[in-house]
């Protein structure tokens, strides 16, 4: 039987969701009998090929996030928003309280301990979006896995459902936003 192919990435997130995924510990071994990984920080594959499932951690804070997200959408049959940041912007979205300019000025010009003050403008750097946004505002998302981070049990529950060909349904006790 062909293995289910999964890709994962972290956009404007903290990798906490990925760490939580690894919290499956020994259950990961069992899972790997049914799944294999495409692009993911776990594999170091740089670009996503055709996949069954894409797991996205983090919201959108810059142009590069959007390119990555689109690559995932184009290649993954099922795209899952993982964690608070992907779902509503999360903690990074707290910068939405301020103009982008004042955020950058605080970080690179006026902040405490800033040396050689200047706002980075290298063309290599992805430009920041005016606001950090959830990923469902940019592409169609098939399923949501809330939590900060979602527990390993949540990952297993959802993947388990998908592997069994069921529509994912999180039991109430696993739904947590924090």
């Amino acid at each position: 039987m062909n293995k289910i192919r999964i890709a994962t990435t972290s956009l404007a997130g903290c990798f906490g969701c990925h760490m939580s995924f690894l919290d499956m510990d020994e259950r990961l071994v069992e899972l790997l009998e049914h799944v294999e990984f495409d692009r993911s920080p776990l594999t170091d594959i740089k670009h996503c090929g055709p996949c069954d499932i894409g797991l996205i951690e983090g919201g959108l804070c810059n142009a590069d996030n959007l390119h990555v997200l689109r690559e995932f959408r184009a290649n993954c049959r099922i795209l899952i928003a993982v964690g608070a940041c992907a779902i509503n912007g999360g903690v990074p979205a707290m910068r939405n309280h301020f103009d982008l300019r004042s955020c950058l000025e605080e970080s690179f010009l006026n902040g405490i301990g800033v040396e050689n003050p200047q706002i980075p403008d290298d063309v290599e750097l992805p430009l920041l979006l005016d606001k950090v946004r959830p990923i469902h505002e940019a592409v169609r998302i098939d399923y949501y896995l809330p939590g900060c981070p979602p527990s390993a049990d949540e990952f297993l529950s959802v993947l388990g459902d998908l592997l069994a060909g069921r529509i994912p349904a999180l039991p109430k006790k696993l739904i947590h936003y924090d």
Binding site: V123, P126, L127, A138
Partner: protein, 598 residues
Amino acid sequence: MSPAIRTASSEQLSAFIANTCSKSSHLLHVLHELQHRFLHISPEAVIEVASFLDLPPSQVESAVEFYSFFSTVPHGRFDILLSNCTSCGYTANGQDLLQLLCDRLHVLTGKTRDDGLVSVDETSCIGMCDHGASLLVNGRPVTGLDAVKIMRIAELIETGTPFENWPAEWFDISDSIRKIGLLLSEDITAGNGLRESLMRGIDGTLEEITQSGLRGRGGAGFSTGMKWKFCAEAEGSAHYVICNADEGEPGTFKDRILLQSHADAIFEGMTTCAYAIGAELGFLYLRGEYRYLSPHLEAVLARRRVQGLLGSSILGRSGFNFDIEIVVGAGAYICGEESALIESLEGKRGVPRNRPPFPVTHGYLGQPTVLNNVETFVAAAHIAQNGSAWFRTTGTMKSPGSKLLSVSGDCAYPGIYEYPFGVSIKQVLDDCGAEDVQAVQIGGPAGTLIGRSGYKRIIGFEDLSTGGSFMVFGRKRDLLDIIVNFSRFFAHESCGFCTPCRVGTTLLKNAMNKIAKGQGTQYDLDEMERIGTLIKRRSHCGLGQTAANPILNGLQRFPQIFRQRLARGDFEPSFDLDAALEEARQITHRDDAAAHLE
């Protein structure tokens, strides 16, 4: 400090407020005077008014922030509001007059110019729909705008010309009455209806109104006789009569004509009601946009007092005491809703109450109150004078009498048409010289959008009921733009009390903008239908319950206007990606390929 800010020492402010409050203690009145005099209402003024009227400062502050015509930052000495209605709005004649005026005066919409001379903004329909594009300058309407007139206005403002030296004819708002019927063909003789009523007695009067089959002209169509009866029977320390002259539904202006030319009939109707229900005080709640009519109305009231038709012992009948106060609203469509209007009269935000109880038992100050539309009172006065049988000679079984329609939009003869109920849409279209019609909006944005297949339908409570708005859209109009306009209207006017309407109207507005920009997909259409249905069914009051009508009607009857704008694909972002990078491009001075998103 810019000269615009008419600064006042705290003594001056106190004196002004004391003086104003002594004339009328209605919060709205005091706030209007402050706004007019100081071009804004400062935090100090809020505190001062609160202490003078013995109200919590938070109540005054919340009112100031609720009504569009009050501001906490200074407006210009010339304060201009252009209507954004589809009939009397700034794009009504195909040109963006708001932009033109702003460019001309070097001012940004919604921002007072640095020298304090002028501020320009837009506002919901100001009820001048039979006169084309219109604006209010310091509360006075100027109609029939075109590019030339806008240039003239800009000039007069730039030179600081006082209104006395503006062309006087600009401020004349003529009555464009095109078709007269039962009510408009003869005016009542002041006092006649009242005399008849006194002869009939209280029960007789209630019976006569009930027998006439008169139903409310504000849109709801509740039996006026029953309403008066319920109120007369309700216990309370006082009874009140309120005339709803808020006329906020875009495309409606028939009450304006009645206020201007048939004020006697309105007051006669109110006084008849007062007699029937035992009220000693009544209010006419005049929409802020019609504030310019206030002196005229006051004059009619003064005359009627002299004539013994108001005041104590009216027409010599001892114990029949009644008077009427005019209270002017301040730019909030929701205040046309009866319970919101009463809240507003009580000096609060115009938020609709929970019902039951209804105003007939718990209205103004919690006391039994009759609240009727302007036209309803006019009809009641005529019925009092001429009897119920006379009234029933026209109209249909379910809708006796006549209806004033405010016809506007793409037709040769916009204006007021009085028809017997039961007239077909087609008849009205023929009479007003509408050719090549694409659609008609009956009852304003809150009403129904119909296409050709609906033209055989009739005006009446049994089919298309309307407060009076009848907007014609010709073939050349972009119907989608109209719906965008209506969805903006509701999002702007939602009072914000209940979740479905507060959030939902903004979601609908955003979705419509997205479609109009060619960035919507079928997904957005499905979403609009789903949210629209929810808002309609779950909202607290009539505003929310009708706010989705233009979209739902549009999706049902004119699906092609949405579909032809859809983007390819099944999903488009909710925000403009490239625009979201603009701020960063400016900060970093970048414009390379990677600095853009498609």
